[in-house]
């Protein structure tokens, strides 16, 4: 594995095959936990750790697991790793453990974890597999963070609320009151806000992709006015 391949894995995980806005896997935590930045990023990072660990754990044993029972064995390993992460959070990050609650054990059922193990770790060596899991988790974390920021600002007018739960009392002053004396916008905090926000994110990603594609197809006509009307852009 050379550097370029690692770069590809990273690009794949964070952008091209992003779990949140391209593969649309793991929607349950995405929609439920993204009500604030801190919650979203915390669960995203916990998922990234689990995905990296499961990639690293499954790649070396991939040739010893018979094909017929690979799914139960993979799920067993993922469940063990998730429970280990849950114990560690319960012991050393109690506040965050309480906030994320049921969504930590639910990482097991997040299909993206099994999907990456099945699609990548069961065919590749240990280091790239761990890195692939981590890159995919990072992509999920980015989506959760952006969606969390969007919902938190619209819904509560703050950013980073609850950061003291993640990092300790000393971080309490980091909470930004972006919109002072904001009354709050309930829709953004409730599940519909997550769906609408995710829709906007997917649309945004597709728009960026289309724009990049147009530029590639039509490098001469790069003027901002012409770009939308150029027939080549609809190829």
């Amino acid at each position: 594995m050379n550097l370029q391949e690692y770069k590809d894995i990273l690009h794949n995980g964070v952008w091209k095959q992003n779990t949140g806005v391209v593969q649309l896997l793991g929607m349950c935590p995405l929609l439920a936990v993204s009500s604030t930045v801190v919650n979203g990023v915390s669960l995203g990072l916990a998922t990234a750790v689990v995905m990296a660990l499961s990639g690293a754990a499954i790649a070396p044993i991939r040739s010893y697991v018979p094909n017929e029972i690979r799914i139960p064995v993979f799920i067993l390993i993922i469940a063990v790793l998730v429970t280990v992460v849950q114990y560690l959070m319960n012991a050393y990050m109690y506040g965050l453990y309480v906030v994320l609650g049921i969504f930590i054990p639910l990482i097991v059922t997040n299909c993206i974890v099994l999907a990456r193990v099945e699609a990548f770790a069961s065919k590749n060596p240990m280091l790239p597999s761990a890195f692939d899991g981590f890159a995919m988790g990072l992509g999920l974390t980015a989506v959760l963070g952006v969606l969390g920021a969007f919902r938190e600002i619209l819904g509560k007018g703050t950013l980073f609320s609850g950061i003291d739960l993640a990092l300790g009392e000393w971080a309490r002053d980091w909470v930004l009151h972006v919109l002072p004396n904001y009354k709050g916008f309930l829709l953004a905090i409730l599940p519909p806000g997550a769906f609408i926000g995710l829709g906007c994110l997917i649309a945004g990603k597709n728009w960026l992709n289309l724009r990049a594609q147009r530029k590639r197809n039509n490098p001469v006509v790069a003027g901002p006015i012409d770009a939308g009307c150029s027939p080549a852009a609809h190829g």
Binding site: S35, V65, E68, A79, Y87, L88, A91, G95, L186, I189
Partner: protein
């Protein structure tokens, strides 16, 4: 036939091996983190208790000075809970009770309340609730100081008719748009105070020497 049986057996052994390995890893992590988990849970509980019992009110190890409170309709608990006793120079000064308001807008609201020896509320906090964010969640002290309105209240000063929200002719504030939530909390706090009145002596009884020393 024989070959199929053998390969099935091998597969089964393989699965058992991974199950045993996974169990072993989990068991060891459980034992490694168990003490830290107990400690952080107790620390969190103590932090909560300190919010409603002023530190000047006790000098005992309040986390260890507990009494099991059986199920009682006045408290709304559906399993036995623990009461924590605050003592100053050996004299009972306050007791921390857990209570449940069963009739919140969306389910149960778990409360923790501290009652001084004279029957006055030292403080009330919501421990867990599922009320609508932005509407009913002002009962949470992180969202609004509403719950501090209970501080210093007692059944000496407020009679039964006063233990209602103002809309129902009582003494307690509420916010427009969400009256079901505070109604449930006020009712639960009143009932818990009745419970305290009926069980005062038993709640403050000196703790029996522990038979087994807790780890």
């Amino acid at each position: 036939m024989k070959r199929i049986a053998r390969s099935t057996l091998q597969t089964a052994i393989n699965l058992v091996f991974f199950a045993v390995l996974g169990t072993a890893i989990l068991a060891s992590v459980f034992f490694m983190t168990h003490d830290a988990i107990v400690k952080s849970e107790e620390g969190e509980k103590l932090k909560l208790i300190m919010q409603i019992v002023p530190p000047t009110l006790f000098d005992n190890d309040i986390i260890q000075d507990t009494l099991s409170v059986p199920v009682d309709p006045l408290l709304g608990n559906d399993e036995a809970t623990l009461a924590y006793r605050a003592r100053l120079h050996g004299e009972p000064s306050a007791v921390v009770l857990e209570a449940v308001a069963p009739d919140g807008y969306s389910g149960k609201i778990s409360l923790i309340l501290a009652v001084r020896a004279n029957g006055e509320l030292a403080g009330v906090r919501v421990v867990a609730h599922k009320e609508t964010p932005g509407l009913g969640d002002y009962i949470d002290v992180a969202k609004s100081p509403w719950i501090r309105g209970f501080d210093g209240k007692s059944r000496e000063v407020y009679k039964d008719a006063d233990w209602k929200v103002k809309k129902d002719g009582g003494q307690f504030d509420y916010m427009a748009g969400a009256t079901i939530t505070p109604r449930a909390v006020v009712k639960a706090v009143n009932k818990a105070l009745i419970y305290f009145g009926e069980n005062r002596d038993r709640l403050f009884a000196a703790s029996e020497p522990k038979k087994e020393k807790s780890k």
